[in-house]
Amino acid sequence: MWKYVLKRVLLMIPTLLGVAVLIFFLMRVVPGDIVELRFAGESAFAQKENLDKERARLGLDQPMWRQFVTWMWGIARFDFGTSMWTGAPIIEEIKLRAALSFQLAVMATIIAVVLAIPLGVVAALKQDTWVDYFVRVFSIAGLATPSFWLGIVFILMLLIVFKWLPPMVYTPFWVDPWQNMLQLIWPALAVGYRYSAVATRMTRSAMLEVLREDYIRTARAKGLWQKLILSRHALKNAMLPVLTVVALEFAFLMGGLVVTEQVFNLNGLGMLFVESVARRDYTLTQALVMLVALVFILVNFTVDLMYAWLDPRIRFR
């Protein structure tokens, strides 16, 4: 087991290296660089020598392989450098936003799981009754509703009905948990609802499949309580596919909530991502991609470990 964990951790290095190579060269293939963008419109400064000077200052005049090696050397020392656009250390740029995105992703996941598992189980048990139809409508509506739109509806509701607006300035959880929750619960609900829809449908279909299994009939023939059959015999088997869906969605939330963040005026990673790409802020974009890649890798790793814990047939070598 520990050998397996060590192997997986070591395997992360080549994976991340691959991501690094890809993003490094992809960014440079995109036409236009940060210097051109910065001087665009200011024709007085947009002369060849000024551009060259700026490029030299940012290290963009170096051969590409040398730029890459420099960047990699920095990462190896956990030095991600400075943002090309703002000049601030990248760690500082990302820290607060990553904390916000992470918290939002965790909250949305909790909301999604708390909604999805009971709803999916009940829908499967009451298959083809009005309960099932209600859950189906609820979850299909969730799939069809963009979370940013739901977010706008939330804000308008709070404003019009309760004459109250959630805080618009981010307070870290460790500074003031109450203020922090007042702000983040709304985007978490908006995102979590959509997220729960996917998980509900997965739970329902996994449960339906498991409930038809022979071992469920065996459990009933043993005279177990219905509740015990569901929680002990069925749910544990049905959770395997649901776990995968939930985990991948979680990883996606860490960098993918661009519009929702805008609606709620949140400075999360999603907005930063878009801005950094638009500005050709190579160093910042690279760092963000590496962060998201790391999150995906870690989440996948965690899912694999949880699979082994849920299903004894899976053994690691």
Binding site: Y215, T218, A221, G223, R232
Partner: protein, 342 residues
């Protein structure tokens, strides 16, 4: 039915009817069937696949998969109660506690993600109120009883670490755990290797004798019947068409279908024939049963009356031997002739 003195009826199924609603129509899987099991007795339910024998057992346990399948009529008397009238909670207390069940597929009938120990002890904890420690000690004892060595360690393992034969032993241990008075074994050996089949059946027979547990063995294997059953019910197309003691059934079958079944298996107690005689044709479509006897199209003895009027289950000999055939008397003479000729 003929009862010898001192033995009382444990389970009595009367006019049981179980239907499945499908797109093709109503399948009469079990169509007005009556049979019984006496205390400590081993009864066999024999027939081809799809003749309704497994559904009969599931109907008794009220485990027929709804909403398509439903018991639509009849009574199941067990220890003075009609199981079909019990509340779901009362029925739950019968399942596993008073009637144990062994299923056909040991591969899929055990939960893959729960340990052997967990699956053995849960029934003990629920039905007998045992503490986890006591249930565990009893589980060790049970595994030993069904011939699984090293049972302490085995309890911590999972089904995939067990062979097919061991899983079926484990199923038997689960069924016996709460000391039920009846075990329904639905094709307990069909999925196993031939060499293992005999071991499992010997084990079941031995345990049923030791603990005085009555058994219903559902099978399509007549060899099993001959060796392990006291009485045999032969089913065809959802109905019982013949019933007799195992010995009587082998010696003097009085229904063409039973005769066909016996002729289609090799026998050591008869001179060797050049080849076996399979029963020609297919079992009938249960949604469109003929008006008369369902076996008519495949029957070598059929007469005009057979397709017009269904024959009732009527006594044909002493010892409770009944057969549902208009021509059962002729069959007796035919069998006698063929015996004389060989």
């Amino acid at each position: 039915m003929l009862h010898s003195a001192g033995v009382s009826t444990l389970l009595s199924v009367e006019n049981l009817q179980t239907h499945f609603v499908t797109r093709g129509g109503v399948v009469r899987a079990v169509d007005d069937v009556s049979w019984d099991v006496e205390e400590g007795e081993t009864v066999a339910l024999v027939g081809e696949s799809g003749c309704g024998k497994s559904v009969s057992a599931l109907s008794i346990m009220r485990l027929v998969a709804g909403p398509a399948g439903r018991v639509v009529g009849g009574r199941v008397h067990f220890k003075g109660r009609d199981l079909l009238q019990l509340s779901e909670e009362e029925m739950r207390r019968v399942r596993g506690r008073e009637i144990g069940m062994v299923f056909q597929e040991p591969m899929t009938s055990l939960n893959p993600v729960l340990s052997i120990g967990r699956q053995l002890t849960e029934g003990l904890e629920i039905h007998l109120g045992m503490t986890p420690g006591a249930a565990r000690r009893r589980a060790v004892e049970l595994l030993g009883m069904v011939g699984i060595p090293d049972s302490e360690r085995r309890l911590t393992q999972y089904p995939h670490q067990f062979s097919g034969g061991m899983r079926q032993r484990m199923m038997i241990a689960m069924a016996l755990a709460c000391k039920p008075s009846l075990i329904l074994a639905d094709e307990p050996t069909t999925a196993l290797d031939v060499t293992i089949q005999a071991q499992i059946l010997e084990l079941m027979k031995d345990l049923s004798r030791r603990f005085g547990v009555a058994m219903l063995i559902i099978t399509h294997n007549l060899g099993v019947v001959a060796r392990y059953a006291d009485r045999v019910n032969v089913m065809y197309a959802g109905r019982i068409i013949e019933r007799a003691t195992a010995r009587e059934l082998y010696a003097r079958p009085r229904h063409p279908y039973t005769l066909g079944l016996l002729r289609s298996v090799p026998r050591l107690d008869e001179p060797r024939r050049a080849r076996l005689d399979p029963i020609e044709g297919q079992p009938p479509d249960l949604t469109r049963l003929p008006q008369g006897c369902a076996f008519t199209p495949r029957c070598a003895f059929s007469v005009a009356r057979c397709s017009a009027e269904p024959p009732p289950l009527a006594p044909v000999a002493d010892g409770g031997h009944v057969s549902a055939c208009w021509e059962s008397a002729r069959l007796d003479r035919a069998a006698a002739r063929s015996a004389a000729a060989s």
